[in-house]
Amino acid sequence: MKRTICFLLLGCGAALPLRGQPDRPRGYQNFPIIITAQFHALSMPFRDLKANFANIGLGLGTEVSLNGKHNWVQQLSLVWYRNKTVGNGLMAYTQTVWRPTVTGHFFTEVKAGIGYQLAFRPVDSFRPVNGGWASVGRKGKGMPAVPVGLSVGYDNPASRTAVSPFATYQLLLISGYNKSVPLVPQTLIQAGARIHPNYGR
């Protein structure tokens, strides 16, 4: 686990070569690259915290500003996670984000949106066919999702660095998992960076 966390942190650090070095404040730019490393768990929020650091994943996203102050943005994300006991998954979601500045260059985010999760099975599975069994591998199921999250981060538009690090706790409400358990809670703990490339400025 320690090794995994080290790689994760180093992975985030590796994004730093992408930073630009503007000679003037870069300000806000639409379509930054948002890279996240994350931990996925089938868990109630703020429960089973150990499990929240067991199943790692990667995410890629971007955002556009919804107002002139840029404290309302719309994000689009694609996340892949591995979870060996409940099955790996792929998730696409969009969230409306309110991003107030707390103090100095530190900001928080409250975000909510909708998404779609393609969840695979953890083991090869079978479909009954004419009294026999046909293997279907780890065939997945697509399910609507409602992701709700809280973030803290740092962003200094006046700095030379083009990277804004942040950490997010997301609760995912997955609909239609099983008819007997129609709404399943999952969590994502994300650590990532919003990278602001110089789009030809």
Partner: protein, 394 residues
């Protein structure tokens, strides 16, 4: 430096992908077993129809099913389908089945045995027998009697309705829960109705009965073995009798339909570890013949006195005013016939053990398909199960 970082980032991605491809297994090794546990009547008159119904269960999507029946024609048993799909291990009647909630009937017998021995009064509050370290989790425990636990009229909340329990179970299939862990899920929750005022089936009641019996006997599992398994000669019935409990090579693999889409995945590790953790409300495995031998032994008076048996058959009513449950004994109608016994359902198994008094027939049927979560395979399986009872009872 940039190259170094690129390598590290690449290493991280490789680790992530490699982790995602690592082999994870839910299936458990298992073997074929020896001869049939009981001498069956080869001329059993319903054999063909019962076999047909069992094959219909397989066609409906049940991997394997095994049954035993005892009637005026003597013993008969059969199995159909697979104990394990992956290596096509054929299910036999000597394979162990999960009894799931049928274990409650065994637990009730153990408690009633204590009552017969004068070690417990069914109408005393549970706080008289249950150590405070457990009763403190139960709101108004002093208002709940032992009898209310036995017939599910206590109003104590259900632990396995707690979403935190279900998510922990699924995310950690190898986690073993302690009895106290279950009680923590109901800690501070109010009783859902006035104790004794109505019937509502709750697994928590039987967890508390197991803990209460532990306090009186030292070990409810040992007490159960001494007072039930040994007197009835149940050599293929097991309950918390070894370290690493449930490590039997003739225990069936289990399957469930995780996404309710008719696709089954092996859930044997999850099922085994879940059942190995459960106390009082679940946890027993047995062959079909051993299960029937138990119910016969109970209802033929080999375990409890006639007066105690009458108490077991004092039915509390359900919401519609129909008889529902006695002391550990379920009252139901199957194949149009009144039946006494118990059913059981789990993530990876389902079963029924019933006596039909009008026909004087004892039946057990066990499936290695989960029945507690919904599946589109279930309606057809229920129709096949109805055919099964029709074949036996008509």
């Amino acid at each position: 430096m940039k190259t170094m970082r690129t390598y590290l980032f690449g290493g991280f991605v490789f680790l992530l992908l490699a982790g995602g491809c690592s082999v994870y297994r839910q299936d458990l090794p298992m073997t074929s077993c020896g001869s049939a546990p009981v001498a069956v009547n080869p001329a059993y008159s319903r054999a063909a129809q019962v076999r047909q119904a069992m094959e219909q269960l397989n066609r409906a999507g049940v991997p394997g099913c095994a049954m035993a029946v005892y009637s005026a024609e003597g013993w008969w048993e059969t199995a159909a389908g697979y104990a394990k799909i992956e290596d096509k291990t054929v299910l036999q009647t000597c394979h162990l089945q999960y009894l799931q909630s049928i274990a409650k009937l065994y637990m009730a017998v153990a408690v009633l045995k204590l009552a017969e021995q004068g070690k417990i009064n069914l109408d005393e509050p549970i706080t008289r027998y249950l150590p405070a370290r457990y009763s403190r989790y139960v709101t108004d425990a002093g208002q709940v009697t032992v009898r209310m636990l036995l017939n599910h009229t206590s109003g104590i909340p259900e632990y396995n309705f707690a979403p935190a329990y279900v998510t922990r179970l699924l995310q950690h299939p190898d986690h073993l829960f302690s009895p106290e862990d279950y009680l923590k899920y109901i800690e501070g929750k109010p009783l859902t109705f006035k104790p004794g005022s109505r019937y509502s089936y709750r697994n928590t009641n039987y967890v508390l009965l197991a803990l209460l019996t532990d306090a009186l006997t030292g070990s409810h599992a040992r007490y159960m073995t001494e007072t039930i398994f040994t007197p009835l000669g149940l050599k293929q019935t097991f309950y918390r009798d070894q370290p690493g409990y449930l490590n039997y090579p003739n225990l069936v693999n289990s399957y469930w339909d995780r996404y309710s889409d008719g696709i089954l995945e092996n859930a044997s590790r999850l099922q085994r570890n879940n059942v190995a953790s459960l106390v009082g409300d679940d946890g027993i495995v047995a062959t079909p013949a051993d299960a029937v031998t138990f119910l016969r032994g109970l209802l033929e008076g080999k375990l409890l006195s006639a007066a105690t048996l009458e108490q077991m058959k004092t039915w509390v009513k359900d919401g519609q005013g129909k008889p529902a449950y006695g002391l550990g004994l379920d009252y139901t109608t199957l194949g149009g016939e009144e039946a006494w016994g118990h059913s059981g359902g789990g993530i990876g198994a389902g079963c029924e053990l019933y006596y039909f008094p009008r026909k004087n027939v004892y039946v057990f049927i066990g499936l290695n398909l989960g029945t507690v979560t919904d599946s589109p395979l279930h309606p057809e399986a229920v129709r096949a199960r109805d055919q099964f009872y029709e074949a036996i009872l008509k």
